[in-house]
Amino acid sequence: MTLTDRTLTDRLTDFANPTRFLALTARVLPWLMAITAVLLAVGLYQSALAPDDYQQGSTVKIMFIHVPNAWLSMFVWGVMSLASLGTLVWRHPLADVAAKSAAPIGAAFTFLALVTGSLWGRPMWGTYWEWDARLTSVLILFLMYLGLIALWRAVEDPSRAARAAAILTLVGALNLPIIKFSVDWWNTLHQPASVMRMGGPTLDRAFLIPLLVMAIAFSFLFVTLHLAAMRNEILRRRVRTLQMLQAQMIQAAQPSGDTANAARGEAALKSTIGAA
């Protein structure tokens, strides 16, 4: 192993330490919040100034929210997939924390992509919803986010939940290329890619610049919220550890031989209180 290898490993190990991660988060979060607020303000100002499209009219402004949220809905699942690999392959201590914390944020972005798309579709397509390939595959993505959140809540032990959630996330990642290429593979109402495409964007600068600023702003928003949610998850696990420690302390304090009776008495008391 070379000196560089050791340094890289040391750095990864440092980052894997939850206490050091919390310290890093405390330093970085205020800056991220400030950058996100400024970018969102600039993006909203540019969106307000953007001209109406000759076909879409003012509904083009919906695109400045819809497109960043649609991109992030897939990006967040990508982040969760990488974190799932970290859980299953490298057993990184923060990997499942990252995956679990990202799910509600990804669900919120996907919800916004669906609803803003629907609000754009009504005046432009004449319908709020159409069961075409792009819309349906994004709806499936949203349902998978909800399924993952339910799975995390259903299994009490975080390490057991992490493995099941990681497998489900990696299976769900198969939906990402389907979403991306659905507009090319099938005949859909949804227009094909107009920014990330071979030959460059087809959008005019008047629309492209506000769109990119809003996309960067929402990306910073995701990073900020994700780090804050990861910090909360680490603290939640500390609470759980201390509660288990407290239970052990109570058990150890019971007179020997009488523990089972004491536990039964405590359970009976709780059920009595619950019934009352």
């Binding site: 100034l49 009219g57 402004k61 819809h66 609803v115 803003t116 804050a228 949610a229 909360n232 609470v239």
Partner: protein, 63 residues
């Protein structure tokens, strides 16, 4: 602001989209901020009852 309000026949669709996005982002921020306060409060309560980490360091210590 007048630019936002002068959206022609699609005002309701555009405004609803922006207001909904603002509401969802505000809910996310509020939920995460409240969750942080709840977890730190629970940790402090546990420490006040004498339950401490094996390392002896405070569980709320994040710096």
């Amino acid at each position: 602001m007048a630019l936002f309000l002068d959206l022609g026949p699609y005002t309701s669709f555009v405004l609803t989209s922006y207001l909904l996005a603002a509401a969802v982002v505000a809910i996310l921020i509020g939920w995460i901020a409240l969750d942080y306060r709840r977890q730190t409060r629970r940790l402090r309560e546990l420490e006040e009852r004498g339950v401490v980490r094996r390392s002896g360091r405070s569980a709320t210590e994040i710096r």
